[in-house]
């Protein structure tokens, strides 16, 4: 898994690419929590996530809860079909705000 963080104003778009699995999810967790803790509204671009497991989902949930505690936004965008299936299995597809595209999430910023 690789990642890229693009910041614009008070918003950070974190693009994850590849497999977010037991080996790589600690990296995803770290970068997501860092963005949240800097007070940014965070959009996770998941278009290029090829696989995600329970550890990857746990990283997303932890970041979502951190954002809620401090009153900032945390949303997913362009969720790949395989990642959406895992979110559905975890019944988290209705817990996260999910935007169809990154542009829809950022309002074109």
């Amino acid at each position: 898994m690789t990642y890229e963080v693009r910041e614009s104003g008070n918003m950070a778009v974190v693009a994850l690419e590849g497999d977010v699995d037991l080996e790589k999810s600690p990296t995803a967790r770290k970068v997501l929590l860092e963005c949240v803790e800097r007070g940014r509204d965070v959009i996770v671009d998941m278009a290029s996530v090829t696989y995600i497991d329970s550890s990857g989902i746990a990283s997303l949930v932890e970041a979502l809860q951190a954002a809620r505690r401090q009153g900032t936004a945390f949303a997913l965008a362009a969720v790949s079909a395989s990642a959406r299936r895992v979110l559905e299995l975890a019944r988290l597809d209705t817990v996260f705000t999910i935007h169809p595209t990154v542009d829809a999430a950022t309002g074109g910023q």
């Binding site: 037991l22 329970s54 809860q65 975890a90 817990v95």
Partner: protein, 143 residues
């Protein structure tokens, strides 16, 4: 626990270290094996997730992060079922402590067992013939 009983045609046997780094190649091998067995793409995707989660349980809970431990994965075709055997050589796990958490309780962690039970038709520990380690069996009807 039921005894170990192999009755099918072996599709895959894989022996690997209990290390997170190895799971990507395990997933690829499982994907190839169950696709050849006739699973649909959606079913294959779910099975790969369930087997991955079962391997993670061994890595994290049976071996407790000791990457010197080994895991043996066997996949068999038994009539209309595909059967997955995951063997480890760790001290026996306390089966009573393994249960899925309340899925409506939104919090990080604890989803792996829920995924396994949701995806597979049957899963549970069986008594290994060797009498040592742990043996986890999962099956999925595909025909």
């Amino acid at each position: 626990m039921a005894p170990e009983r192999h009755e099918g045609t072996r599709l895959l046997q894989l022996r690997f270290r209990a290390h997170a780094r190895r799971l990507k190649e395990v997933r690829a091998a499982v994907q190839t094996a169950v696709t050849r067995a006739g699973c649909t793409p959606a079913c294959t995707r779910d099975i790969v997730l369930a087997v991955d989660e079962a391997c993670q349980n061994i890595i994290r809970h049976a071996y407790e992060g000791d990457t010197n431990g080994e895991i043996v994965l066997e996949i068999e075709r038994q009539d209309r079922d595909v059967v997955f055997w995951l063997r480890d050589f760790a001290p026996p796990v306390d089966v009573s402590k393994i249960k899925p958490r309340d899925i409506d309780d939104v919090r990080p962690g604890g989803l792996g067992t829920h995924f396994i039970r949701h995806v597979m038709d049957d899963s549970g520990f069986v008594t290994p013939e060797s009498g040592t380690g742990n043996l986890f069996r999962m099956s999925k009807r595909i025909g």
